[in-house]
Symmetry: C2
Subunit: 333 residues, 2 copies
DNA sequence: AATTTTTCTGTAAACGATTACAACCCAAAT
DNA sequence: ATTTGGGTTGTAATCGTTTACAGAAAAATT
């Protein structure tokens, strides 16, 4: 690896001059600059980011920590993050925890040691203690799609309760009164909130909340499948089902098809997220849409406002717009 | 940020001793070790990975560069990569190029400057010049799912030509003779190979190759949709279609449904990859399966063999097993 | 008791960049 | 002729670690 010293020697100048040239500082003679630049290119010299980082205390890297890279929701968020990180000439380390809290903590520690300058995270952990690890870092953190237990972080999310409300309202207007929940784990914030949204909306319409219509599973395809299986076993099964996210909805759809029932003829279904696949599948999924790319982009924008040292005393909370996208999995009873 | 010096001062020892303690070297008194460790914990000291990296010339990070994070194929590969990187206590920087070569090159340069210790890449670029940038790095590189133009890199992939052969054979056995291709861009290696696989297999069965049955589009949902649209406009449309990957197949399915045709009754279809959706969708997609997680894991394993300095003179080529998974989108004509 | 070996600890030199500071040169102003 | 001041360059300190080397103390060997 050629170092700045090698370049300096070859060019017959001091390392300081080379440094000035590659950092485009003024106060270096135009001819000399061109000369040094030529040698830099000839030697294929690239400054060592590590050494530079040690001196300048900046690594130009941030990190995005997500629970499930197999859920297309997150890759889309990641694209949003990347897009603004690009503008700032930062690279982003993407960490996938597969929802194991332990791994999340390990990541956070490593990231801290590697001196990333900020973290965007959708936490798998939810307890105060788990969050404390984040709080002890002294770098900016922004939470996506998660309640902040500790009030120290910026946060960007949609209003889950309202979002679910849209879904239940739609069911209600279509005449459904027996509405099931294919719920995600209530240990994570969005699972809990969407559960609350379901309960509150059902109650708001004067429909009695029935325990047997409420299920809870893992936030993935199989979780949705299992939950739906349970609902289908009921003597008096629901005519409509809200699933806590789209991949659970897709799992539910599989379960429904498996029993020979038709969608939406026999059962209506609504998901949450509006992942790309929901408009590619058949029948196309009615779902509560949230702006995934923007969520990533805005979170990153907020992060950089702190990374670049702006004084923002209070944690901010940005609520993004959601909307119900009516497609082909819902129909009048 | 507390440094090793702070810890040393507080403990009344030299920095060397603290360094020895946190690196678990022998030759430090057991009592002293415990004492220092206590202070380390009290102060919440974490060594600076940057400074350490500068001295030791190791960053403990590798990178995975992929063209399309929205294609579930790659997240699954990424999980495989992460899983073995975890074992080695490495973190992985995931870079998504969205198939723009320019961005790929920028990433590679930044990664090089950040002194990542190895790169796993599914290149978007294909020309010799584009590959040269990789060759000039002096860190290990392993290619996934791509031909190596330059013979300098390890590579792990499936035999695309054989894979496509399985699909075409299956169509043939089911009585199909008019088989269309929803092809991916031939500028990328897997697009070209799958095209070749199609041509060769068709010829092998003595079926004339017809230009009008061959389409080429972007390697995504919309690409598949557009190609299929074109095939459907033919006076004499195909009875079976092979799509270059599953998301293209899914796009093709959308296009077929849109015209009111039935799958597999009117048209049979086979994809490639076996992403998770292909068995969640309806009807379930027949597809050529390749081991995604393993591909990532094995590539990473090969990478680490070089990263850890083993002498492996020749580039290696690992061909993984593929198989045809017959589901519900193919039927006898 | 003298010597050798082993254990333990500290001093100081790296690693590869950035940057404060000083010094020099030269043109312009006094 | 002297001073001023901006442009240009170099010297050396610094960032936070690891580690070669040295030296002291303790243990083992002769």
């Amino acid at each position: 690896m050629t170092t700045i010293k090698d370049v300096a020697e070859k060019a017959g100048v001091s390392v300081a001059t080379v440094s000035r040239v590659i950092n485009n500082e003024k106060y270096v003679n135009e001819d000399l600059r061109r000369y040094v630049l030529k040698i830099v290119n000839d030697m294929g010299y690239q400054p060592d980011g590590i050494a530079r980082g040690l001196r300048t205390k900046s690594t130009n890297v941030i990190s995005l920590v997500i629970p499930d890279i197999n859920n297309p929701f997150y890759p889309e968020v990641a694209r949003g993050v990347q897009s603004v990180a690009d503008e700032y000439e930062y690279v982003v380390i993407l960490c996938n925890t597969d929802r194991v809290v332990q791994r999340e903590q390990k990541f956070v520690n490593i990231l801290n040691q590697q001196r990333v300058e900020g973290i965007i995270i959708n936490p798998s952990g939810s307890t105060r203690r788990e969050m404390n690890i984040l709080a002890r870092l002294n770098i900016p953190v922004v939470l996506i799609s998660s309640q902040n237990i500790l009030p120290n972080f910026d946060i960007v999310m949609v209003d889950n309760i309202q979002g679910v409300g849209l879904a239940i309202d739609h069911f209600y207007e279509l005449g459904h009164r027996r509405i099931g929940l294919v719920g995600g784990s209530r240990e994570v914030s969005s699972g809990e909130q969407r559960y609350q949204g379901y309960i509150q909306s059902i109650a708001r319409h004067g429909i009695p909340v029935e325990e047997e219509l409420i299920t809870e599973g893992k936030f993935d395809h199989n979780g949705g499948y299992e939950c739906m299986k349970r609902l289908l076993k009921l003597k008096n099964r629901p005519t409509a089902v809200f699933a806590a996210n789209d991949i659970m909805a897709i799992g539910a759809v599989s379960a429904i098809y498996e029993t020979g029932l038709k969608i939406p003829d026999d059962i209506s279904i609504i998901g949450f997220d509006d992942i790309a696949y929901s408009r590619m599948m058949y029948p196309k999924l009615t779902t509560v849409s949230q702006p995934k790319f923007e969520m990533g982009a805005i979170a990153t924008q907020m992060l950089f406002e702190r990374v670049t040292g702006q004084e923002i005393p209070n944690p901010r909370r940005k609520i993004l717009d959601h909307s119900l996208v009516i497609r082909d999995t819902t129909q009048r009873i």
